[in-house]
Every structure is written in C-alpha cells, then in structure tokens.
C-alpha cells in the first residue's frame, strides 16, 4: 500500500484519461473552427454593410464595400501594416471588381446617403451615385425628387418581371419548340433513309410549322427585350464618370447608407432566398444554387436507393449463406479495402465501365435510331445522373455491407433459433426476423454512405456533373426522372467557384456560402435518416436481451 499522498491525483491505470480527453478536444476544436469559419464567411455574403466613399493619398476616390483586411505581404511581423480590400463593382469600367488599398494611405472615409448599390445580371455589382432615373414610360425622375426611391424600386420590379417573362419565352417555350424540332429532324432523317416519301413530306411540313413558331417566339422575345431596354438609370461613379445602367440589367438595388437594421435584415433574407431558390448567373458566381441543390439531393437519394438493397443482399449472402472459410475472409478483406480506394479511381471505373461499356451498349440496343440520325449524339453513353449514382453507390457499398453484416451478427442468437425451431426456413427467418431487427443498424450504414456520397466530387466530374446544366434531372416532362441528364452538384460547384472562376475575388464569398449550404444539406439528409432509424429503434425497444 502506497501512501495516499503519492497516488491521490493520478490513480493507477487512469493516467491516460487526460490524453484521450486531449484528443477529443483537438478534434472538436478543429471541427468547430471549420464550422465557424464556414458559417461566418458564408452568412456574411448576404449582409449589406454601409458603403463608404474613401479618399486615398494618391488622389483616388473609391466607392466600395469593405471586403477584407489583411497584413500587407512583406511587412514586418513586429510592425504589421494592413491593407484593405474594397468591392467597387462596375467591372466594365474599373476592369476589376476589387481593389486593394494600403490602410496607411487612407485619408478619410464618409458615408453619403445617396450611394446606391446594384446587383446586375452582367458584370457583377455596382456602387454609384445616381443622378436620374429614366422610366419605361419616358418620364425622368431626378435623384432629388422624393419619389425617386419608390419609382426606382417599381422599375426594378417591372424589369424583374420582364426578365422572368423572357426566361419563360426563351427557355421554356422556345426550348420546347427546339426539342420538338430535334425529334422531327431525327424522324425526317430516318424517313429519308428508309425512303418513306409520305413520312418525309409530313416531317418537312412539321419542321416548317415549327420553324415558323420559332420565328414568332423569337420576334416576341426580341420585342419584350427591347421594351425593357427603355428604362435606364444614370449615375456617376467614384471618379465622376457618367454611368448608364439599363434597368433590365438590375436584379436588386439598395441604398446601403440609408437602410436601418430591419431593412438590412430584409435584404439579407431576400438575397438568401435568391441564393437557395434561383438559378445561377455570371458564370455561377452570382445568383442562386437551386439546380445544384436539387441535383445533389436527387443524386444522393438515388444513390442511397441503389446502394441499400445491393449492400444488404450482399451482406445477407456473406453472413447467412456463404460457407465461412478462408475464401470468405479474403472477400471480406477485399470489401473493406474497397472503402479505402481513392474516389477518383471509382470515377475512372465509372467512366470506363458504366458510361462507355454499359451506356454505350444501352445506346446501341435501345437508341440506335437516335445515334444514327442525330450525329452520333449519345443518350446513356455519356455522363449522367444514373452513372453518377451508380459510381457513388459502388464507392459507398463497403460501408453498407459492413454495417449490415454487423447488424445481422448482433441479432440475438435466441431469436434466430426460435424462428428456425418454429419451422421457418432460412429465408423466412431472414425476412421476418433478422432484417426487421437489424434495420436500425443497416440504416446507420446508409447514413454513413449518404454522408460520404453527398460530399464526394472527384468521381462525379468524370461521370456526369457539369458546371451549368440547362435542365433539371426531374421535371414535368415524361418520364419525369431523367436518368440520362447531366446535372449540377454543390460539391463540384465549390470546386468550380474556387478554382475555375475567372474572378476569384468575386467567387470567394460564394465558395463559403456554397460550402455552408452543402454542409446543411448533408446534415439534413442525415437527420432524416436518423429520424427513420430512431422510429425503427423505438419499435424494437427492449429487443436487446
């Protein structure tokens, strides 16, 4: 027996508690730090701070929103000098949306109330001092008029409505005519090829009708666009140059130095709403992410639907039917190692096998007309939703197999014996007893698979994710779920914004916002699966005896 004083603080065998605790703290710290970084940067994208007019030593005047402050590269750590980055907008005039200014050279900043911030369809945002609004009805409203702000917002709303109408015209109605024309051209080529004179004449007639409809729609669209060009905003930039912005270009306008907190909150949620529910513009650096959110969701759900039955069936065979022995051990080790294969390898496999071999064969078998009469344009022989889902299903298969095997093994032996002793066959026992009892464990595997699949990017780039998809993988056109279509994905969006964007400064905040959205989406999917699992667990409560 040692004296109490020598071992009172560190009981034998408990000496490493602090060390394991430290591991947890480091891990938690990194996760929380990452989340905080993403959340803060992601949220601040939508916040509209006051915009100063800044005088610089060298005589320049800048109107811009402060983007970031950092230590000047090359300055001494002991006496750091800072520089500020302003988002000045008006890329067509300034050449760049962002400017760096040495903090020491700032002479002063003021916050005039008349600064107007604009989000535009093209060329990014703009900060300017408005002079006159030329309304669509020809009336001119000077900035000094008390009605200026109200008329301006009315005109912006009208321009928005016009834009939507144009989208409806060009994308949907003209798009429909285009796809009909495409089908008619294929039918025409086929008819010509087969020498069916009646059919040729009929298709030619159809194409002529469609072309006439196309021309009508185009004229209508041009008319709408021209009417929208009438309304204009005149203003001056920081250097005093005259700037004319057509209202049709303006998505949103706000007076950053006049807004109260409530106004800023409303602007915040308006931008957030656009971000989630609208489509992207400006090479994806602005606008919304709806197609990417939707694509990620559909792909992940579809992948789960593929991987779950596949993995469960495999695990049932491995655990219940296969002869346990060295061969099975090798198979198990191989399955587990599959989880460690780099994901890009799965992408290459998906491209080589799924897209070219499987997709190519499907095209040969079922879409040979399409290939022959449509310039060899593949249908399934190119990347698409189906191949992405299959590739990721293959990648996440080991997770589901291992989880299912463990869950099956964890079913109490007594339950299995009771079922067999009651005269149930092996398959009846699996179906009636083992699968329901192991459902929570299987779902844990599916949750892990979903979490991994939803965040995966590298293999998807090879098998069907694109920067900008014209259509969604699910829509109102039969067969509703278009497995052959390419789609957009949040993870790829992050990569594309961060590394492929022409204006990396403008893309930077969007990278954070998109990352935040991806994390939220994965968390939501997981919470959904966890909710299902807990309901199942409640059904088998007390089953562990």
């Amino acid at each position: 027996m040692s004296s109490p004083s020598s071992d009172s603080s560190t009981p034998r065998g408990e000496a490493w508690v602090w060390f394991t605790g430290l591991g947890l703290i480091v891990g938690l710290g990194m996760v929380i730090g990452l989340l905080a970084l993403v959340v803060l940067n992601g949220i601040s994208v939508f916040w509209a701070p006051p915009v100063p007019v800044v005088q610089v030593d060298d005589g320049r005047t800048i109107i811009g929103q402060l983007a970031q402050r950092r230590i000047r590269p090359g300055s001494l750590a002991s006496a750091p000098r800072y520089e500020l980055q302003f988002q000045v907008g008006l890329r067509e005039l300034n050449g760049n949306s962002y400017l760096w200014v040495d903090e020491a050279k700032l002479k002063g900043e003021v916050f005039p109330a008349d600064i107007l911030g604009l989000e535009r369809v093209e060329n990014g945002p703009a900060f300017l001092r408005p002079l006159t609004l030329k309304r669509a009805d020809g009336q001119e409203v000077p900035v000094t008029s008390p009605a200026f702000s109200e008329s301006f917002q009315q005109e912006v709303a009208a321009a928005g409505a016009t834009r939507e109408k144009l989208v409806e015209l060009t994308r949907h109605r003209i798009g429909d005519v285009n796809s009909e024309m495409e089908a008619a051209r294929i039918a025409l080529r086929r008819a010509e090829d087969r020498g069916q004179a009646d059919e040729v004449a009929e298709q030619r007639k159809l194409i002529a009708t469609l072309e006439a409809r196309f021309a009508d729609l185009r004229t209508e669209a041009q008319g709408v666009a021209q009417r929208g060009e009438v309304a204009k905003l005149l203003g001056r930039d920081a250097a005093g140059r005259e700037v004319t912005v057509p209202l049709s270009q303006i998505v949103r306008g706000w007076f950053p130095n006049q807004l109260d907190t409530w106004g800023r909150v409303r602007l915040f949620f308006s931008r957030l709403h656009e971000f989630i529910f609208d489509e992207p513009r400006e090479a994806n650096t602005e606008g919304g992410l709806m197609p990417a959110i939707f694509g990620t969701l559909v792909m992940t759900v579809f992948m789960s639907l593929l991987v779950t039955p596949f993995g469960v069936i495999t695990a049932i065979y491995l655990r219940e039917y296969a002869q346990q022995g060295p061969i099975l051990r090798i198979v198990r080790i191989s399955v587990n190692n599959l989880a460690g294969v780099p994901s890009i390898v799965f992408g290459v496999f998906g491209l080589g096998f799924f897209v070219y071999v499987l997709g190519g064969s499907i095209d040969q078998l079922f879409f040979s007309d399409q290939l022959k009469y449509n310039n060899n344009t593949p249908v399934f022989g190119t990347g698409g939703l189906l191949w992405c889902s299959l590739t990721l299903a293959l990648m996440t298969l080991p997770v589901v197999i291992v989880a299912t095997e463990e869950a099956l093994a964890a079913v109490p032996r007594g339950m299995r014996e009771a079922s067999l002793a009651a005269g149930a066959s092996k398959w009846q026992t699996i179906r009636e007893i083992l699968l329901p009892a192991s459902a929570p464990g299987i779902l844990t595997g599916v949750i892990l698979a979903m979490a991994r699949g939803a965040g995966e990017v590298a293999p998807l780039m090879l098998v069907g994710v694109v920067k900008l998809a014209p259509t969604l993988p699910v829509d109102a056109v039969a067969p509703f779920l278009h497995l052959d279509r390419k789609f957009m994905h949040l993870g790829f969006h992050v990569y594309d914004l961060g590394f492929q964007s022409p204006d990396s400064d403008a893309a930077r905040p969007m990278v954070f916002a998109t990352t935040l959205l991806l994390i939220i989406l994965v968390v939501c999917l997981n919470l959904g699966a966890i909710w299902v699992r807990n309901r199942l667990r409640a059904r088998f409560k007390g089953a562990s005896f």
């Binding site: 079922s419 002793a421 005269g423």
Partner: protein, 273 residues
C-alpha cells in the same frame, strides 16, 4: 435401503407412477453418438420415449443433455462441423431420412428455450408466427390458433386485451409462457423444453410446471432441467447423463427412490454435480 440411498427423501416429491406402461414408444434413440468437430459430446445413447409422457433429462453441466435435446429437432444443424452415429426415429421414421425436410421435422417438434426469446413483434404475431411461415393467411384460423395457444399456455386472461402490443413489454414469466404458446400454436406432436424455468422466479416456475401437466394430455414432452425437484415433480421418466454417456434411464420414481447406479444416486443426493 431407500432411506440410506436417498438421505433426504422428504425434500423430493415423486409423482406416483400412472399409466406409464402399455404406451407404444414414440421417439426412439439407438446407439446414438454425436461430435462437435473432434470433441465427442454424446456416446452410446439408447432410449425410448413413450407417447404423451414427460421425460426429463438431468445431469451436471456439459453432460450432453441439451445436445441430445437439440438433436431431436436438428437444431444442432446450425453448428459447423457436427457428426453423428446411430439413429433417432420418430414414429419409426429416421429424422436423418434424406427425404424428410428439416423444416417439416421442426414443425412437428416444437421447442422452448432456456432464455425466453420473443420476437420484436406484437403478442399476436409472436403466437401465430409458425402458422404464418407455413403460409396460413386465413384470419379466422390465425385468431383461433392464437386464442387456443394462449389459453393452453395460461396467458390468455393476462394478454387478451393487448394482443397487438409488443411482446417485449411482458414480464419474464409471461414471455416464457408466450414462447410456449408460440411453440404449440401449430400443434406439434412433441415439445422440447431446454431448462424452461431457469430464468424464472418460483411463482412463474410453478405456473409453467402446472402447464406441463396439462400439455402432457396432448404432447410428448422432453424437458432438460437442472432442478432435481422439478424433474421429480413434472416427469414420468427420467434419464441421467454424465460426461456424454447415458447412465440410467427409468421411471422417475425408480430413479429418485431407488436408482440402480451409484453415480445416479450420488448426483441426486447432491454429492456431486
């Protein structure tokens, strides 16, 4: 003589021998030996079990009594590397007959386990499980079988108002009686019980023993037990096993009052095991 061989006869009440003779042998075990891999678990077992009687298997742990019981419905088939010699016949037909499906054997030979093992389903679904896997869909047949079995298992009055509740909400004794109801729902001919009361309190044990008396009218029952008192109370015949060998098999009265083997006497009187 009896008094010296059984030092404490009042401790064990022996059922009087009744209607034991004149019944034809039902289960017949001949020169039976059994191996788990290299390890021999049973050796030279030969015994006949008459119809509608209760036969108890007793013996110290590891003596092979459970192994023999689990071979009667071929539950040991689940274990890898098993092997047997000799034969077991039920009504003259070998249970190892290649033409006999294991599933149909198990439908004729019900089993109750040491640990109650209800399925995580409703009470109703637990009872009718054997019928369901036989393909019975008719609701009225299932309802009737459920009520009959639960009545026979003396559980009906306690659960009739909550048949759709989870079986996992029952008490330990109720669960074990539910397992008995489940085992008899498809009317097997033989009921195997592997220490059915070892996890139960004395009141629940009493109920199950009473049940065994009643079930005897319809089923042939083989029970493995560690409790000598229980074997004496419920069984008509008793077999004593030691180290995989059958030491003695006779009427329960004879085994407990006047065993012919010294080992049996020593075990029953509590001198070893």
């Amino acid at each position: 003589m009896t008094a010296t061989m059984n030092p404490n006869p009042s401790r064990i009440q022996v059922r009087p021998a009744t209607e034991r003779d004149g019944r034809r042998d039902y289960i017949s075990i001949r020169d039976y030996g059994f191996w788990y891999g290299q390890k021999q678990a049973l050796e030279g077992i030969s015994l006949d079990i008459p119809e509608r009687q209760v036969v108890a298997f007793i013996g110290p742990s590891g003596c092979g009594k459970s192994t023999l019981l689990r071979n009667l419905n071929r539950m040991n088939d689940l274990v890898d590397g098993i092997r047997h010699v000799g034969d077991i016949t039920i009504k003259g037909r070998s249970i190892y007959d290649p033409g006999l499906e294991v599933i149909s054997l198990r439908r004729r030979v019900g089993m109750v386990f040491q640990k109650s093992n209800p399925f995580p389903k409703s009470i109703y679904e637990n009872v009718v499980f054997a019928l369901r896997v036989m393909g019975v869909r008719d609701r009225s047949i299932l309802d009737e079988a459920c009520e009959t079995s639960l009545r026979k298992a003396a559980l009906w009055d306690e659960v009739k108002d909550r048949l759709q509740d989870s079986a996992l909400g029952l008490s330990g004794g109720q669960m074990q009686r539910l397992c008995i109801a489940r085992a008899i729902a498809n009317r097997p001919e033989i009921l195997l019980m592997d220490e059915p009361c070892s996890a139960l309190d004395p009141i629940a044990t009493g109920k199950i023993e009473e049940l065994i008396h009643e079930l005897k009218e319809q089923f042939t029952i083989v029970i493995v037990t560690h409790s000598m008192q229980q074997a004496a109370r419920v069984s008509d015949r008793t077999a004593f096993f030691y180290l995989g060998k059958q030491i003695e098999y006779d009427t329960t009265e004879k085994i407990f009052m006047n065993p012919s083997q010294a080992q049996t006497e020593a075990y029953i009187s509590g001198r070893f095991g």
